[in-house]
Amino acid sequence: MRKLALSDEILLSVEKPARYIGGEINMIAKDPSEVAIRFCMCFPDVYEIGMSHLGIQILYDMLNLRKDIYCERVYSPWVDLDKIMREQGIPLFALESQQPVKNFDFLGITLQYEMCYTNILQVLDLSGIPLRSENRTLEDPFVIGGGPCAYNPEPIADFFDLFYIGEGETVYFELMDAYKEWKSLGADRISFLKMAAQIPGIYVPQFYKAEYYEDGTLAAFKKTVAETPERVQKQVERDMSDTFYPAKPLVPYIKVTQDRVVLEIQRGCIRGCRFCQAGMLYRPIRPRDLEFLKKRAEQMLHSTGHDEITLSSLSSSDYKELPELVYWLIDEFQGKGVNIALPSLRIDAFALDVMSKVQDVRKSSLTFAPEAGSQRMRDVINKGLTEESILKGAHDAFTGGWNRVKLYFMMGLPGEEWEDIEAIAVLSDQIAREYYTLPKEERNGKVNIVTSTSIFVPKPFTPFQWSPMISKEEAEEKRYFLLDKVKSQRNAKSIKYNCHDADVSELEGIFARGDRKLCDVILQAYRSGCIYDAWSEHFSYSKWEQAFSDHNVDMDFYLKRERREDELFPWDFIDIGVTKQFLFAEYQRAKEGQTTPNCRAECAGCGAMKFQCGVCVEGKEA
C-alpha cells in the first residue's frame, strides 16, 4: 500500500482529497534512492488546472525516460489544505513519492499566466524553501521557471535560481548532465549556476544587473559575470515529429479541466495577430507529421482509456492535413465511443461538416473569435477575418442547424474608438439577423448569441508592447456603453453580454511588462495573504493596491505610458528570433491600419528564419 503524506483525518476533512494522493494511472514509479536527480515539476495552481497542462505531461515523460532522473509532480494545495499545512507545519510534498519537495534537486515551476505569481511563493513557502534565491543554501533545490511568462521573468526574478527560456524539449538533458557534474565536484551553488548559464536558453537572473533612469525606465541591463551570454537564446524544437511526446499520459481520478487526450498537431502560428504573444513566441509554425499524430492518438487513447481526444494548436485550420487527420479519427474511434473535440477551428464548410459529425448540433454552440467589432479594428490587430466571412460562416452554421453562437472580442485595443465598441454590438446583431434570413421552417427555435469581451493586455514580444493599456475606469465606461448598445439592437433579446474583470486585467498588465522592482511588491502581497489571484473569489485588489503603495511603485508607470521606440525593455535580453525592429514596424502598420500577410502567403521577415525550420523552410527542402 502506498504511504501517503497526509493523514486520513486531513484527507477526509479537505475538499477533493484525490488532489493529494497521486497514484494516477500511468504515473511513473521509481525508487527515489536509486536516481541521481530528483526533479519536482510544479504547476502553481490547483490540481485540476495543473493536470490539464500538456507541457508538464511532455516534460514529465521526457525526464522520466532517463533512468538517473525521477521527475515527480506538485500542484498548489487548495486554500483548505494550505491552511492546515501552515497550522500543523506539514511540508509540501510531491505526489509520486509523497516526500517533501525540499529534498529534491530541482523544483521546476511552469509559468502559464501572471496571476499565478503569488502561488509560486505559496509553493516555495510550504516547501520550506527560502523565497528569495539569494537566501537558498545547498540544502535547497534549484528553482527553475519556464513557460510563456518566462519570456519576461523580471517581476519574479528574485524568486528563481534559473529560468529556461523556450521549448523544454531541447536542453533539459544538458542541464541535468551539468548538474551531475557539479554534484560530483562538491562545489557551491554559484558554481552550478555559472555552468548552467552557459547552456543556451538558460537565464540566471542574479548574474544580471538592471540600472534605471530617474523616470523609472531601464537604462541598462548588464551581465555581472563573464560566463553568461549578453542575450539569452530562446529554445526551439526544430523537428516536431522526431521528439518527445508522451504515449502514456497520466490519467487523473477526479475530473480535471482537460479530461481527455490532447494531441498537439503543430506548434506556432502563421497568422501574426498583433495582440497575440503566443503567435510571436512560438514562431515559426512547425506541423507534426500526420503519421506521427495518428500513432500517438492511437497509443494515447489506448493507454489512458479516455473517451475524448482534442486537437491542440493555436489555429488548427492552418494544419494542412487537418481533413485527413480528422476524418481518420472519426472513422477509427467514433464507433468506439470516443468523442472528438476540435477547438480553434475557423468556421468554414469543412469545419461545419466535421462538427455535424462529432457533436449534437442542437445542443452545441459555435465559437467565433472576431476579437474586434469593426473591420478597421480587425485590420489594426491583423486579425485576418472579414465581416463577410464571419457572416457567411454564421449563415452556413445556421443552415446546418446550429442556433447558438459564442463571440469573443477584446476591449481596449490600441487606437480603439467608441464606434469600434459599438461595432461589437452591431456585429452581434448582424449575426442574429443572419439567422432570421432563414425561412422559418428551417430555423431551430430562437437564436442565442453570447458576446464576451475581455480586456486587452499588451504583452512583451508583440507589436503592441509599446502601447498603453486601457485604464480600469475607461474599461468600465466602455463596458456600460457596449451594454447600452447591445440593448438597443433589434435582436437585443437574443444577445447576452459578458465582461471580464478589470481589476485582474490591470494587474496582469503590470506583471506582463513589469521589471524587477515588482519582486518586492509581489512578495508583500503574498505576505499579506494573496494567493490564487486567478480565482475571483480569492482575489483581493485592495491588498495589491496596498503592496504597490507601500513600495512606492506606481502602477500607471507600467500601464499608461506609450513607450518610446528606443526604450530598453526588461525582456529585451531574450532573443526570441522575431526582432524588435519587426515588432516596431508592425506597430507602425497597426497604427496605419495596414495588414500583414500570414507566413504561408508571404514571408514578412520577422526574424524567425534563423531557426531554419517549419514554415520558414517549407517547400525549400531539396
Partner: protein, 273 residues
C-alpha cells in the same frame, strides 16, 4: 450480455468518490479493450451501474458493478485482462454472467456486511473484548435503538434496532451466521484492529450506515464517538430472494430475509463463472 463485477477498494483509493470510481472503470474497460454496450445518442456512455455507493474513506472487499458486455465479448480471461490495467488498490475479484432478465444490483440490494476496525494509533472502548461484548449484549437487549440520522437535507430520529441483522465480535461467529467465508481481506488486519462485524439493512428503500451503529453503541456506553478512529470495511452485499419490489424485510417482519450474495444473484447457470 449482462454481467456483474465484484471488486475491492482500499488504501488511497478510499479517497476516490463514487462518481470518480465510475469514471475510473469506464476508462479501465477501454484500456483493457473490453467492449461494453453503449447508450444511444450523441454522447453515448457505457451501460453500467453500481450496487451501492461506498462513502469516501471506507474500504471494501465487495463492491458490485453491473455492466452490459457487447455480444461475443470473450469472458474467459476477463478478470485478468481488467486487473492488468488497474491500480493495485482497486482489484477485480470476480465476474458473474447474469440472466438477460436479471434485475440490477441497485434494485435488489437488501443488506451489507461490514467489518469495523480501529485505525492504527487510534483508541476505542471497543478494543477491550469484555467491554465490547457487554456493550453488544446491552444493545441487543434494548427494545429500540434510536439514533439521529442526518442527511444533506434533514435530520430525523430513527429506530435502527430491526435493521441490525447481526452484530458479532468474532469473525467465526459472524461467518457461521452469514454462511459466507470471507477469505483474506484487502484490509491489512495487522494494522487495523477488528472489533465488530455487522450485517445491516441496505438498499434504496432503507439504508443503514454502519457508522450509526458505532455511534449508537458509543452513546449507550457513554463514550465519545470519533468517526475518525474507525476504518469501516464492507465485506459483502446481498439481495433478498423473498423480497418483492419495494419490500424490506427486517428482524420483526413476518417473513424473514433470505439473503444471497450479489455475486450469486441472477446468475446465468448456463455459462460458467
Amino acid at each position: 450480455m449482462k454481467a456483474r463485477i465484484k471488486f475491492s477498494k482500499t488504501g488511497s483509493m478510499r479517497f476516490i468518490g463514487h462518481l470518480d470510481v465510475m469514471r475510473y472503470f469506464q476508462k479501465a474497460f477501454r484500456r483493457a479493450d473490453i467492449a461494453l454496450s453503449y447508450s444511444q445518442g450523441f454522447s453515448p456512455h457505457q451501460l453500467m451501474s453500481f450496487a451501492s455507493p461506498l462513502g469516501i474513506g471506507l474500504s471494501s472487499d465487495a463492491e458490485y458493478l453491473d455492466i452490459v458486455l457487447e455480444d461475443g465479448e470473450p469472458i474467459d480471461d476477463f478478470v485478468l485482462r481488467l486487473n492488468a490495467v488497474m491500480n493495485e488498490e482497486i482489484r477485480v475479484k470476480g465476474m458473474t454472467v447474469l440472466k438477460e432478465d436479471s434485475k440490477t444490483s441497485m434494485a435488489v440490494l437488501a443488506a451489507c456486511d461490514y467489518l469495523i476496525t480501529v485505525k492504527p494509533g487510534q483508541q476505542s472502548f471497543l478494543m477491550d473484548r469484555a467491554r465490547r461484548r457487554e456493550a453488544v449484549e446491552r444493545l441487543l437487549s434494548r427494545n429500540t435503538v434510536d439514533i439521529c440520522k442526518k442527511t444533506k437535507r434533514s435530520e430525523k430520529i430513527v429506530d435502527i434496532k430491526d435493521n441490525i441483522y447481526r452484530i458479532a465480535d468474532e469473525r467465526q461467529e459472524f461467518e457461521d451466521f452469514t454462511g459466507v467465508s470471507y477469505g483474506s481481506l484487502a484490509l491489512d488486519l495487522s494494522k487495523y484492529i477488528p472489533v465488530l462485524y455487522l450485517q445491516l439493512t441496505a438498499g434504496s428503500m432503507v439504508n443503514i450506515k454502519p457508522e450509526l451503529v458505532i455511534e449508537a453503541l458509543s452513546i449507550q456506553e457513554g463514550e465519545k464517538y470519533d468517526w475518525l478512529s474507525y476504518q469501516i470495511h464492507r465485506m459483502e452485499m446481498y439481495a433478498d430472494l423473498d423480497a418483492k419490489k419495494g419490500e424490506v424485510h427486517t428482524l420483526s417482519s413476518a417473513v424473514p430475509c433470505k439473503l444471497i450474495p450479489l455475486s450469486e444473484y441472477g446468475k446465468d447457470d448456463c455459462i460458467g463463472r
